[in-house]
Symmetry: C2
Subunit: 146 residues, 2 copies
């Protein structure tokens, strides 16, 4: 339930420690995830994995992603297009998404801290800004538009 596994070996150990098994399908899925920086949605992961290793069923991909999230290897966040997975080891990641052009950026740890403080100032709610993206208008679009 913990692990911030950074590589295949760590993940294998994690599975073993929980009585789970490392199958060829899981190897392929983990490899795909580890090869991808940033986020990809379940359907995309399924497509990509199947492209490399034709035998992998989509339902296996969905079940594996769920499992990896339970193990703490993956996390998901909600972007405009829906849920996206990313490696938990990538650390705090708050997505800024331009609603006009779709470009993406990210806040750093200090900024996230400040956002948390604003909320904590008046509420006992402990916000997790990584779970949902923050929509808005990027500098470029603000300059060129309205």
């Amino acid at each position: 339930m913990t692990g911030s596994a950074a590589n295949g070996d760590d993940i294998l150990a994690l599975l073993r420690a929980n009585g789970l098994r490392m199958t060829p399908q899981r190897r392929a899925i983990v490899a795909e995830i580890m090869a991808t920086d940033g986020h990809i949605n379940p359907a995309d992961v399924a497509r990509r994995v199947r492209q490399r290793v034709p035998g992998v069923n989509a339902s296996t991909v969905y079940r594996t992603l769920d499992m990896l999230e339970d193990m703490g290897v993956l996390s998901h966040a909600h972007l405009e297009t829906g849920a996206e997975y990313h490696r938990s080891s990538e650390g705090l990641h708050v997505h800024l998404i331009c609603s006009r052009c779709g470009s993406e950026d990210a806040l750093d740890a200090a900024e996230i801290e400040q956002l948390r403080d604003v909320v904590a100032q008046r509420r006992r709610f402990r916000p997790d800004f990584t779970h949902f993206a923050i929509s808005g208008i990027c500098a470029a679009c603000a300059a060129s538009a309205n």
Copy 2:
């Protein structure tokens, strides 16, 4: 493209001004929306409207919600369960959602302002905190849990 219509008459006027028509189906959908505080998703709106006015097709509901959003009468936000519509006239509304118990709360204008400032401090990105919810742990859950 503008309107913050608060009642049926305003909406009718808005449609007229844009060469659109007020049909019985639209009347039913608008009535349902106006009778609901908070948010409901498209599928729910469809179900509720059909319950009241059996003749209304689901595709009509989807098309009408899209149209009303284009007109500025409705807005949508992204919550854990997906997209939710709400009346634009309800004003700035930032959703705080507890990921443990699902309870909801909202930030007020002053807090939203402060969040904006945090981002503006170092970026030219203009955030819209209303578009995505903010996930986190509510006070009650933080107290009862580990």
